[in-house]
Amino acid sequence: MAAHSLDGLFLYAAGWRREYVRYVTGARLGASFALVFLPLSGDPVALVASEEDRRAVEETGWVTDVRPLRPLRLDLPRGLRRVGVAHLELMPEAILAQIEEALPGVELTSATSLVDAVQRVKSPWELEQVRRAARVCEAGWEAFVRALAPGVPEYAVVAAVEHELKRLGAEDNFMLIASGGREVMGMTPPGERRLQVGDLVRTELTPQVNGYWCQICRTAVLGEPDPAQRRSSELFLEALEAGLAAVRAGVTADEVARAENDVFRRHGYGEYCTSRYTRVRGHGHGLHPDETPSIVEGDRTVLEEGSVVIVHPNTYTPLAGYHVLGDPVVVTAGGFEPLLATERKLFQVAP
């Protein structure tokens, strides 16, 4: 904050982006809005929208001054000139108007990228939470494979995975799925489609454990893989391993993405690394499932020791349609610490 000439900082939590407030309070919140005000010096104040959230913040005890969000009553230090707002981009007009009224004449500026940068490097305690989430990830994938059988609808596969993740204590899960053949161009929420012998069944599943998310991307085949599916699996494994080999503290997200994409280019599939077919070649993890940096060519963010990223060269190719394979890792000085023990392969399920 001092380096950015900020006299204070508001951390805003929207219903789907609570990571900054959780970072400071440690609390699992449920309401659609919450705020924390962090002065340049002194204790933070949490502003919550429900009785349940007040109790959640008080139970963790990281922030002891807990007040209602509406009406906003802050005893702010005098002389504030410039205050940052993390997730200003998502803040409703109704809440921003209250802040502006409470801080007349104070310049409010977005501090989203500032807080993103602070949260990228995880503490040892945070890394332990991510490792716990990784164990749940592995179990979730095993449950996914167990659920695959001809005739089972996609949504029932998701139900089986959710059961296992929740049984193991996951708070939430972000998950996409796609089943079928070469026509599959990407993953979505599940539909009613029933699995068939010969299908590739792809998923990314992302349980949240004690606030921290961890993702796994894998593909399974129902029955014997055909030669194109085998070839696709080999291509994605080569790309994933190339990306992982590039990971170490000091390299850029661009370098990791380029290492993955070069494999596709070398094999004549370079056009499938573009935004027409894929979004990113990986991304950060933590209190949000899709943290910065985005691992894409052109992103010059330097990977720092202690940050967590997933490397996933997921994309469509005409070989076997959309294919996913990805592993999350902790970035270390000399390389990376793998978070998953799950094999990197095309899983085969006997019909």
């Binding site: 949504y155 049984r167 161009m185």
Partner: protein, 320 residues
């Protein structure tokens, strides 16, 4: 999180088009060229009601012109457009990081006009400012909870979906309320039971002695909660249930220590309710959830309000 079954029922397109046309009629009355409705993965009920779109991640805007087809602009990748076309009635989908720019592109250059903003208070303020900058000379007029108001009283088809959502919630509650289960196993069983019945979303809160289940089925929400012993309903809930008739207001029931949520507000537990909702008399045919008790212990059921009294839609058997 919305990761359950998303499907466009065969009957839905005709009814959804009627909803769009009804909204368009209101826009014409109010003299606005189009309405813009904001939604994200946390709250997208209005957009789902009009189109069956599921914003399973990120955020977007539904633009409904006073005449013509609606457009959805989103920060989700264009790669999801085929799936969105298959599961909604929207055919004009546009993706990009600059939502305001996409709106300007859609409106073309008809000259300054009036754009209706549905529930402006809850829109991200920077997005409103971007829209104002992208549409110089245009008036951004707050339309308030225009879509929410239309959703309060369900059609017969919607009531059928609400009944199914409530049935699933009650069954899932019973599956999770088995004595002796640990908290995580309880939550796990509820998740599976609800998702196997095709819910789009299920919210579960559980303790050793209490369970709350909130389900979203085809965009329609129901809630049930209660203690796990064979306890009778608390007196305030029974009293409120007896008073739950057309004409009573939320404030009337709150005096008895009971909270009331319309089904359309269950998605965000009432966080976005308009202030005037508190004194508005309930209409016949609305579906509401009543809760009594403290957080972590409360008893909740979902009801259809009729002239003859409430019909409880959630059944838990012994216990709640």
């Amino acid at each position: 999180m919305k990761r359950g079954l998303v499907v466009l029922e065969e009957w839905a397109p005709a009814e959804l088009r009627t909803r769009i046309e009804t909204l368009q009629g209101r826009l014409a009355e109010q003299g606005v060229e189009a309405a813009a409705i904001y939604g994200d993965v946390h709250r997208s009920g209005d957009i789902t009601y009009l189109t069956n779109l599921c914003i399973y991640w990120n955020e977007g805007l539904l633009l409904v012109p006073a005449r013509g087809e609606p457009t959805f602009v989103t920060r989700l990748s264009a790669r999801v457009h085929p799936w969105m076309r298959a599961t909604s009635i929207v055919t004009d989908l546009r993706s990009g990081p600059d939502l305001a720019g996409l709106v300007r592109e859609r409106l073309g250059d008809p000259g300054p006009g009036s754009l209706g903003i549905v529930e402006r208070s809850w829109w991200p303020a920077p997005l409103l400012r971007s829209l104002a900058a992208a549409l110089p000379g245009w008036q951004l007029r707050d339309l308030g909870p225009l879509v929410r108001s239309a959703r309060l009283r369900p059609s017969p088809r919607e009531l059928g979906l609400l009944r199914e959502s409530a049935t699933i919630a009650g069954r899932a509650w019973r599956v999770g309320a088995v004595p002796g289960l640990g908290v995580t196993e309880r939550a796990a069983r509820v998740e599976r039971a609800a998702r196997e019945r095709g819910v789009e979303d299920v919210l579960v809160r559980a303790s050793d002695s209490w369970l709350e289940v909130t389900t979203e089925y085809r965009g329609y929400w129901a809630a049930v909660a209660g203690g796990l012993g064979a306890r009778p309903d608390p007196a305030p809930l029974a009293a409120a249930e007896a008073r739950l008739r057309p004409g009573v207001s939320r404030r009337d029931l709150e005096r008895d220590g009971v909270s009331l949520l319309h089904h359309v507000d269950l998605e965000t537990a009432g966080d976005h309710r308009p202030d005037e909702d508190r004194d508005a008399p309930l209409e016949e045919g609305v579906v509401v959830a009543l809760s009594a008790g403290r957080p972590g212990e409360r008893v909740t059921h979902t009801y259809l309000v009729t002239a003859g009294g409430p019909e409880r839609l959630t059944e838990t058997g012994e216990g709640a």
